[in-house]
C-alpha cells in the first residue's frame, strides 16, 4: 500500500469552488447554509451503529484491516531518535512472533524526527507522516507554519498532518482558515495533506460539518479529528459527521477525501465500531488505508492481542508484545 | 472468656470517603442511658468547607442525571437499608432508647420514606411544573430546577427517620447536600452514610458531618457557595435560628426555618420539603412560521 497511488484531490477543487471562496461573506453563507446537525439524533445513530456485532471471520479481517490503517504515533516532548527508530521498526513488523501480521499504514512523528523514521522505514511501504504548522496549538505566524511544513517535507515526509487555526475559525474568519490550508497544501508538494480540526475545541457538530467542507474545498486529502492533546479527542459521532461530509463531497464533486479519527481509540472493539461506521455511513469504498486511518499508539497492541486470540484461541498478555 | 469485639470508628462522610476531622477533634457519644458508645469526629469549619466543595463538585453530574436514574439510586439506598434492617434497629435503639418494636417501626418508616421520595424524582415536575397559556403567540412553560448545594441541619431527636426525611427531599430533585447530624444522636447518620457509600450514590452528593450545629452551622449559613439551608436541626433555639437566617441572607439563601419543636416525622411530609429547594424556570418561545 502506498498513498502516492491514491487519487489526487485538490487541483480541480480550487476552480470549482472559486465562487464560494471568493470572499469571507460568500464562504460564510455557504458554510452556514449547509444542513444543520441535530446533536441528539447524530449521537443516537452513532450509538446504534455501535451495537453491531462483528464475529469470527468477519472480526479477523476487520482486525487485519484496522492494523493496516494505523498511523502509529509518538508526539511527545521526550521523543528521541531511539524511540522513533523502535516505533518505526514496530510499524513494519508489529508482531515479532507472527510474520503474517500486516504492517501499519504509517508512523506519525514531529518534523525533526522524520529523517530518522525514514532511515528505518526505507521503501518498506510504511509511510512517514509528520505533524506540522506549530502542532498542536497552531498558534504561530503563517510563514513559520509554512517553514515547519517545508522542513518536514524536505526531510522526506510522505504525509503532513496540519492543524487549522481554531481561533480564526471560532471567530468566523473562515477565509483565513481556508487560505492557510491552501498555502500549506502548496508547501506539501507531492506529500498528502491531512487537516486536523481539533473537534474538542470546535465543540458543535455544526462546526465540524463546516470545517469539513472548508478543508475539502481547500485541498486537503484527509480530514482528521484531533491532535490527541485535547479532550475529547476522536469520538464516534464526530467521525460520523465527517464521514457524512466526505460522502456528500464525493456526491457533489466526484472526489474522495479520507477521514482520520485520532486520539482516544484504545481497543479493538472501538476500532471495529469505527469500521462499521465507515461501512454504513460513507460506504465500503472508504474501507482502505488510502481513505481511512486511525491515529493511535496503544490501539495497535490491543489489535495484536485480539488477532492472536483469534488465531490461537487463547487470551494473550502484554509480555508477548513489544512496548514499542 | 467472652469475645472482645472490634469497635467501629465513627468518621465524617465527605466526597464519598470517610475522613477524620481535619482538626483531629472528636467527642464522646453516649447512648440514651448515658453510657459511652464511641468517640465521633467533631467536624470543624474546614471540614464544612471541604464538604461544600465536594457537594459543589458533585452538583453538575447529579443534577444532569435523568430523574429516572436518581429515582433508581434512591430506591437502591432503600434496598440496602432494608437488607441492614437489624443493624439500623440496633442503632436507633441505642441512640433513642426505644423498645425493640418501636425501633423496628421507626426503621420501617425510614425505609418507606426513602421509597416515597424516590418515587418523586420523575413526578415533581409534573405536579409543580406546567405550560402557561400566555395571551400571545408564545409557547411558555415553567418547570422546577434544583437550586444547588443545600446545607441541612438534621433534627436533634429523630436520628434516623428525621434524618432521612431531611436529606431525601433535597437530593431527589438533583441538589447536593451537606448535613450536620444530631449532636447527641449521630451514630445512625454514620451508618446511613455507609449505606450511601455502597448504593451507587456518587461521591459528594450527600456529605455528613458529625458534630455541633452551634459550631459548624454558622459557617455553612454564611458560606457564599451554599444556595440554601434547612434549619430544622436548631428547632427550639430561636436565637440561634434567627442568627443563622441573618447570616444566610448575605447571598440570599433559600431558608427553611426551624420549627418551634421537632415535628412528628411519621406524618405525611407534603411536598414543600422538596419545593423549598427548587427554582422555577419559565421559558418563552414564539410560535410562527
Amino acid at each position: 500500500m502506498s498513498s502516492s497511488t491514491a487519487a489526487p484531490a485538490g487541483a480541480t477543487t480550487g476552480a470549482e469552488f472559486a465562487e464560494i471562496t471568493r470572499s469571507d461573506s460568500s464562504l460564510r453563507r455557504f458554510l452556514h447554509g449547509l444542513p444543520g446537525v441535530d446533536q441528539v439524533g447524530a449521537e443516537a445513530r452513532a450509538a446504534t451503529l455501535g451495537t453491531r456485532s462483528i464475529k469470527t471471520t468477519a472480526k479477523q479481517s476487520a482486525i487485519d484491516l484496522a492494523i493496516r490503517m494505523v498511523d502509529l504515533t509518538t508526539l511527545e516532548g521526550q521523543d528521541t531518535h531511539g524511540k522513533v527508530r523502535a516505533l518505526a521498526a514496530k510499524a513494519m513488523r508489529p508482531d515479532p512472533a507472527d510474520q503474517t501480521c500486516p504492517a501499519a499504514a504509517a508512523v506519525c512523528v514531529y518534523p525533526d524526527m522524520v529523517a530518522t523514521a525514514k532511515e528505518v522505514l526505507g521503501d518498506s511501504g510504511v509511510n512517514v507522516a509528520a505533524v506540522a504548522t506549530a502542532f498542536p496549538s497552531g498558534r504561530a505566524a503563517l510563514d513559520i507554519k509554512l517553514a515547519d511544513t517545508r522542513d518536514a517535507v524536505e526531510a522526506g515526509a510522505d504525509e503532513i498532518d496540519m492543524v487549522i487555526d481554531r481561533g480564526a475559525f471560532l471567530s468566523g474568519r473562515y477565509l483565513q482558515v481556508f487560505e492557510e490550508i491552501v498555502a500549506v497544501r502548496e508547501a506539501c508538494g507531492s506529500a498528502h495533506l491531512k487537516v486536523i480540526f481539533e473537534t474538542g475545541e470546535l465543540q458543535t457538530y455544526d462546526n465540524v460539518r463546516r470545517a469539513s467542507w472548508l478543508a475539502m474545498m481547500a485541498g486537503g486529502h484527509f480530514i482528521k479529528t484531533s491532535t490527541g492533546k485535547v479532550q475529547p479527542a476522536a469520538t464516534l459521532p464526530v467521525t460520523q459527521v465527517m464521514l457524512e461530509a466526505v460522502r456528500d463531497f464525493r456526491e457533489a464533486t466526484g472526489q474522495m477525501i479520507g477521514v482520520k479519527p485520532a486520539g482516544g481509540i484504545r481497543t479493538s472493539k472501538d476500532a471495529i465500531k469505527y469500521l462499521v461506521m465507515v461501512n454504513e455511513v460513507a460506504g465500503p469504498d472508504w474501507l482502505d488505508p488510502d481513505w481511512f486511518r486511525f491515529g493511535a499508539s496503544t490501539l495497535l497492541n490491543d489489535l495484536l492481542m485480539q488477532r492472536t486470540k483469534m488465531k490461537t484461541g487463547r487470551y494473550s498478555g502484554p509480555d508477548y508484545f513489544t512496548l514499542d | 472468656m467472652s469475645r472482645v469485639d472490634v469497635r467501629k470508628t465513627y468518621k465524617l462522610f465527605i466526597g464519598g470517603g470517610f475522613p477524620r476531622s481535619e482538626s483531629g477533634h472528636s467527642y464522646a457519644v453516649t447512648d440514651s442511658k448515658g453510657k459511652f458508645v464511641a468517640n465521633a469526629a467533631l467536624a470543624s469549619r474546614k471540614d464544612a468547607r471541604d464538604a461544600v466543595q465536594a457537594a459543589r463538585k458533585a452538583f453538575g453530574g447529579w443534577s444532569s442525571r435523568t430523574a429516572y436514574n436518581r429515582a433508581q439510586i434512591l430506591y437502591r439506598v432503600a434496598e440496602v437499608m432494608e437488607d441492614r434492617r437489624p443493624q439500623f434497629v440496633d442503632a436507633v435503639r441505642q441512640s433513642e432508647g426505644l423498645a425493640a418494636a418501636r425501633a423496628e417501626k421507626v426503621v420501617d418508616e425510614s425505609i418507606d420514606r426513602l421509597v416515597w421520595y424516590a418515587g418523586w424524582a420523575d413526578k415533581i415536575t409534573q405536579v409543580v411544573g406546567n405550560a402557561n397559556p400566555v395571551a400571545g403567540p408564545y409557547f411558555n412553560r415553567s418547570t422546577p430546577e434544583p437550586t444547588g448545594v443545600v446545607a441541612v441541619l438534621a433534627p436533634p431527636e429523630s436520628s434516623l427517620l428525621g434524618l432521612v426525611s431531611t436529606i431525601a427531599p433535597v437530593v431527589v430533585t438533583g441538589n447536593t447536600v451537606v448535613v450536620v447530624s444530631s449532636y447527641d444522636r449521630p451514630l445512625p447518620a454514620v451508618t446511613f452514610s455507609e449505606v450511601l457509600a455502597t448504593s451507587d450514590v456518587p461521591g459528594g452528593v450527600v456529605n455528613i458531618l458529625t458534630g455541633a450545629a452551634a459550631t459548624v452551622a454558622p459557617w455553612l449559613a454564611a458560606h457564599m457557595d451554599v444556595n440554601a439551608i434547612d434549619l430544622t436541626g436548631v428547632a427550639g433555639d430561636a436565637d440561634l435560628a434567627r442568627n443563622l437566617e441573618i447570616a444566610a441572607a448575605e447571598n440570599l439563601k433559600r431558608v427553611r426555618r426551624a420549627p418551634a419543636t421537632e415535628p412528628d416525622w411519621t406524618q405525611d411530609p407534603g411536598i414543600d420539603a422538596m419545593t423549598t429547594f427548587l427554582e422555577t424556570k419559565t421559558v418563552w418561545h414564539p410560535i410562527g412560521v
Binding site: 447524530a42 468477519a58 | 405536579v127
Partner: protein, 473 residues
C-alpha cells in the same frame, strides 16, 4: 473492501418455553376450557408452544378472582405497600431482562436489538414510574379512588410493553386486572405472570387470560368489569365503544394511525433520514404511531429521497435473534397478506414502488422495507393503515399545505416535524391534530410522557400523570 457481518445470534438457551401453558387466574396457572391453540415463531414458522384458550366461563372465573382480590386485599392496601409490589416487579423485569427480550423476539418477530434496547427497558421503567404514584395519588389531580376491576385487551406489536402500559397504572391506582394478550404473542405475558408470582403479588390482582377475539369480547362485555382498556385496530375499538355504550364502564382506546412525518427544507437532513427510517421501519412498521406518510417539502424532495434510498440499502432484514438485524419478521401470515395486498393496490393506483435488494429467508413471514413515491392523498396507501414497513411519500410546498395534508385523515395519533426553526416546530405542533408530536425525533416513548390519539385513533392517554386519570375516580 467489503466488511461482512457474520451471523451474531443471541442464544435461545436463556428461555425455557414450556410445551403448553394454562391461564393465570387467582395467582395460579389453571386449565382453559376453550380450544387450545399454537403460537409460532413468525421468523421460522416453528411451533413455540401450545396456549390455553379462555372461554366465557374462564373469563368469568378470572373476573371473579380479580374482584375478590380487589375487595379483600388490593383496594384496602395502603398505596405505599402497593407501590412496593410494583417496585419488586420492576426490579425482577430488570433482572430477567435478557430472557424477556429473547422470548419477545421469538414470539413476535422483532429484532433482538429492539426488544433488548427499547421494549424491555421501557417496560421496567414503566412499572418503576407507576410504582411511585401509588402512594401519591392525592397529588395527581384526578381523585384517589380506584374503579375496581379492569378488563384489558392488548395487541401483538409490542406485547410486553402494551402489557406494562395497561397493568402498571391500573395497579398503582388500586385496581385489579384481567388482561388478554394477542393470540399470536402470548408468551411474554405468561412469563410476566411468573414474575408476579416471584414478586409474591397477592393472588388475583393480575390475571392473564389467553385467547382470541371471542375471549376479548367476553372480557370487554363482562358485567363486573368496571373499566375497559383496549389497544388495537380502529375497527375493533369502534365495536367496543358500542358494546360499552349505556353501561357504567369507563373506557380508553388506543387505536390506529396514519401519521405524517413532515420534513422541511431546513431540516437537519441526515437526522431527518434517520427519523424517517426509524419512523416506519422500526418494529417492521407494526406501530400505531408509525410515520407512514412522508411529507417532504418539494424543494428538497429529490435530494432527500436519494439519501433515504441509500440509507434503506443498509437495513438488514433477517433472523430476529441476530444482533445485527434491523428489520425482523412480519408477525403473522394474515398481516403479511394485508401488507402485500395494500402494496399491490399502491402499484395498481400508479405510485412508484421501490425496495432495496434484500435476501429474504425461505421460511417465515417477510416483507422488504418499501417506499412508494408519487403518492397523493387520494391513494389508498395514503389513507389506510398498512401496519407494515411501507412508506408513502408525498410532497408539499408550504407549512399550511403540510398541515392540511397531515390533518386530512380520520386518524390523529402522532406526527413528526423536521426543521431547524423553533417557532415553526411550535406552530406545526399547535396545528397538527395529533396526540403526540415529535419534533426532530420520532418514536420516542417514556413512562412520564402521555401517549394517545385524537379522532379515530382513540381516546384517553397512557403514560405520565395524565395516564392515571383512566384508573381513578
Amino acid at each position: 473492501m467489503k466488511l461482512e457481518y457474520a451471523p451474531a445470534p443471541e442464544s435461545r438457551s436463556i428461555v425455557d418455553i414450556k410445551p403448553s401453558y394454562g391461564l393465570f387466574i387467582g395467582g395460579e396457572f389453571v386449565d382453559g376450557h376453550g380450544k387450545a391453540f399454537k403460537t409460532i415463531s413468525p421468523a421460522t414458522e416453528e411451533v413455540l408452544s401450545e396456549v390455553a384458550d379462555a372461554d366465557e366461563a374462564d373469563v368469568d372465573a378470572a373476573v371473579k378472582a380479580a374482584r375478590r382480590a380487589y375487595t379483600r386485599t388490593w383496594s384496602k392496601m395502603p398505596g405505599r405497600e402497593r407501590a412496593k409490589y410494583l417496585y419488586r416487579i420492576a426490579r425482577i423485569i430488570q433482572e430477567r431482562s435478557r430472557e424477556l427480550a429473547v422470548l419477545e423476539s421469538l414470539d413476535n418477530g422483532k429484532p433482538i436489538k429492539e426488544s433488548r434496547d427499547v421494549d424491555v427497558p421501557i417496560v421496567a421503567a414503566h412499572f418503576f414510574y407507576y410504582a411511585g404514584w401509588a402512594d401519591k395519588l392525592e397529588y395527581a389531580g384526578y381523585g384517589t379512588q380506584p374503579l375496581g376491576v379492569a378488563g384489558q385487551v392488548i395487541p401483538w406489536n409490542f406485547p410486553l410493553l402494551m402489557l406494562a402500559w395497561k397493568i402498571a397504572p391500573a395497579l398503582a391506582c388500586g385496581n385489579t386486572v384481567v388482561l388478554k394478550p394477542a393470540e399470536t404473542t402470548p408468551l411474554t405475558a405468561l412469563l410476566f405472570a411468573e414474575i408476579c408470582q416471584q414478586a409474591d403479588l397477592p393472588p388475583g390482582v393480575v390475571n392473564i387470560v389467553t385467547g382470541a377475539g371471542e375471549t376479548g369480547r367476553a372480557l370487554v362485555a363482562h358485567e363486573d368489569v368496571d373499566k375497559v382498556a383496549f389497544t388495537g385496530s380502529t375497527d375493533v375499538g369502534r365495536a367496543i365503544a358500542k358494546v360499552v355504550a349505556g353501561s357504567d364502564k369507563k373506557v380508553t382506546l388506543e387505536l390506529g394511525g396514519k401519521a405524517a412525518n413532515i420534513v422541511f427544507d431546513d431540516a437537519p437532513i441526515d437526522q431527518a433520514v434517520e427519523g424517517i427510517v426509524n419512523g416506519i421501519f422500526f418494529n417492521q412498521g407494526h406501530v400505531c404511531c408509525a410515520g407512514s406518510r412522508l411529507l417532504v417539502q418539494e424543494s428538497i424532495a429529490e435530494e432527500l429521497l436519494g439519501r433515504l434510498k441509500r440509507r434503506m440499502s443498509t437495513l438488514r432484514v433477517g433472523d430476529p435473534l441476530d444482533k445485527n438485524t434491523d428489520v425482523g419478521a412480519i408477525n403473522s401470515a394474515e398481516q403479511l397478506a394485508r401488507i402485500r395486498e395494500l402494496s399491490d393496490i399502491g402499484e395498481a393506483e400508479g405510485a412508484g414502488r421501490w425496495s432495496p435488494e434484500c435476501e429474504l429467508p425461505q421460511h417465515g413471514f417477510w416483507f422488504p422495507p418499501t417506499l412508494f413515491t408519487g403518492v397523493s392523498q387520494a391513494h389508498r396507501i395514503a389513507r389506510e393503515e398498512i401496519f407494515g414497513p411501507v412508506l408513502s411519500v408525498l410532497t408539499f410546498r408550504t407549512p399550511a399545505e403540510a398541515i392540511e395534508k397531515a390533518n386530512n385523515t380520520p386518524f390523529g395519533l402522532s406526527a413528526g416535524v423536521w426543521t431547524d426553526k423553533g417557532s415553526l416546530i411550535l406552530h406545526m405542533a399547535n396545528h397538527l391534530r395529533a396526540g403526540v408530536v415529535w419534533a426532530n425525533t420520532f418514536n420516542k416513548f417514556d413512562p412520564t410522557s402521555p401517549f394517545g390519539g385524537y379522532k379515530e385513533s382513540g381516546y384517553g392517554r397512557e403514560g405520565g400523570r395524565h395516564g392515571l386519570e383512566a384508573y381513578l375516580r
